[in-house]
Amino acid sequence: MYCSSWQFWSSLHKGSSGRCPWLLFPFFTLWLFAPPPSQLSRCDWLCVMTRSDRVVNCSCDWLKSLDLSRVTAFSPAEDRFNMAASLRCFLRTGKNAVSALQRREFHRSLPAAVQVTVRDALNQAMDEELERDERVFLLGEEVAQYDGAYKVSRGLWKKYGDKRIIDTPITEMGFTGIAVGAAMAGLRPICEFMTFNFSMQAIDQVINSAAKTYYMSAGLQSVPIVFRGPNGASAGVAAQHSQCFAAWYGHCPGLKVVSPWNAEDAKGLLKSAIRDDNPVVFLENELMYGVPFEMSEESQSKDFTIPIGKAKVERQGTHVTMVTHSRYVSHCLDAAAVLAKEGIECEVINLRTIRPLDVDCIETSVMKTNHLVTVEGGWPQFGVGAEICARVMEGPAFNYLDAPATRVTGVDIPMPYAKILEDNSLPQIKDIIFSVKKTLNV
């Protein structure tokens, strides 16, 4: 009985063109995607399916392919509880449970995965790169003795000392220029801006001295530097401290612009950025610093890097493509979970890199789902979403669109202070859900 229902469900998934079968989904999705612990019984049968004594007599081909010798010997009750927790974790990212099971990810995630906050992931990345290459050093306001304005560089000064972790005076243009000069002369600086709002004071050094130099010198002079810091809105910091610079820096050739979401992104991308021989603008998000994420065993290795310029599909879907970056990946996944209950399967793409944009990933997805919604915190005019729409229009995916693309963005105003106003200045989950439904015309 179990086998047959699995077969039916998995075949539905594989053969789905995104149209009528989703009508049947509510029954299966409600059953599978509701997370509370009291629903252990629903997870029971999943656990049951992987336990050796029940499986050997099953005739399902995919079950036979499982390597059951790798099942860890926990007590059955503990096993089921952990499985449920892992399942919740997985389902939050919207992973396809069937394919996840087939890939034995439940088993793999159990022993070695740890919960790491984005802040700690960034700290680890910098620590590892400082250790790996003597030329790497960090400079910025409060990075050393204060342990970082947001504690991202906690412990680094104690470990590496004054030479490699440098506190600067409050002189952005000056210390950014110094960092760029040091990069020109052979070092590999990490230049921290307390927030990217202050980078505006130094933007000439970032663009004219860093980004353009390799081109102007026809390859004679490179600038291996990372500019990092929190970008975009925080909480209650008002207009001058809440601007998103993704579009501003994303506009300029010669720069790479990266925008991580979770802890793995943060670590892998920061390591890649530091190892890159080019100027990289690394846009973090203050509100994400304290959020823990599961980090796989692979991502805990000292050589774990994520390539710059490649987006990641965080959640597979069939009805609409949501393209987003940074904090809004969480919002999109939450919106997708809600929409899934109504039978709308959203594909969520985490851009990871703003420049160069992974247009191929977006186009492949749009050609599958026929609908596009971009989500960002920045202002709409000349923004990241605007660029994505233009690129989709210019490429092969345009012919696959069943509706005009939609941009969900921050409100086109300087950020207000009062909480109610601030909350309504940025995309909320309800805005994303509303926009998806409008795009799908449901």
Partner: protein
Amino acid sequence: MELFNLNIGCSCGSRVVVSRSFADFTPQATFDIKKCDVHRLEEGPPVKATLTRDQGLQYYRIMQTVRRMELKADQLYKQKIIRGFCHLYDGQEACAAGIEAAINPSDHLITAYRAHGYTYTRGVAIKEILAELTGRKGGVAKGKGGSMHMYAPHFYGGNGIVGAQVPLGAGIALACQYQGNNQVCVTLYGDGAANQGQLFEAFNMAALWKLPCIFICENNKYGMGTSVERASASTDYYKRGDFIPGLRVDGMDVLCVREATQFAADHCRSGKGPIVMELQTYRYHGHSMSDPGVSYRTREEIQEVRSKSDPISLLKDRMLSNNMAAVEEFKEIDIAIRKEVEEAAQYATSDPEPPLEELCNHIFKNDPPLEVRGTHPWATLKSVS
């Protein structure tokens, strides 16, 4: 250090009769040089400078080359073979020659847009400089940089944004200190840039961290069309470093510049931190080729400086009056340099422009090939590192 080669006369094809033999010349002489004004220093550079015959001829050669190269650039610009910006350095040659004489090739140098002279003293060939000005593929930056963006090992340009090169220079000095290589960075800026805020930010950090940076203000009395009196509340540029010691130097005398730079380099290398130098100099041309240079100053003033303080004449007269060289030798050097510059100009006008395939290259270093958006969606352009 290149030694003067007596055969230079013979190599250019003309028969030269040098009536006096080598042994007749004074091999070395000591000259009195102008005392430098000091700021926060017990004593300044020495007031006497020793010059050997070889050194003298070398400095002469360098300054004359820069002079002729700049005049050739002037000519090419008027013929519209050079376009865009062209900021000429003639009149200020003693600064470039004197600084280079006092530092090592392993030291670092960065300057602003009036950079052709320094590009030459830092080792780039004349033909590569002129070809860059004319925008040809044989240019030092393959035609992609232009007048203000020429680079060489330990020479960081050539910078177009006024004042931006000063924090960059402090950063290069930081790298020297970090790597412990006993090198210094010479960071140049003009009297116009001297009022930029980022300079003071750089001064603060350089002094705080004792960076081995020699900040040099080339005060040629005019920031574009604005005289120093109209731009600066304090025209004592050597004091503008406040807590940083300073020197005011006669920038028209190559020996003065050399001695002062030597003094400054020793100061930095000994770990005392940065130092500021003001070189009082003059430019004969306007701010750039689009500025005739006579609307904000008189022709008489220019003429007076030319006749009384020209750096090349100053050196030549000194050597002649001390019997260190013959008039004919200088003539030979002049002829040789003219020929060299002429050949370089020939090269710069005949070399082909960079191929269109090069358009998008050198965006990133060590990256796989990248597609670049052209002027319309159907233009497929590629960028190779």
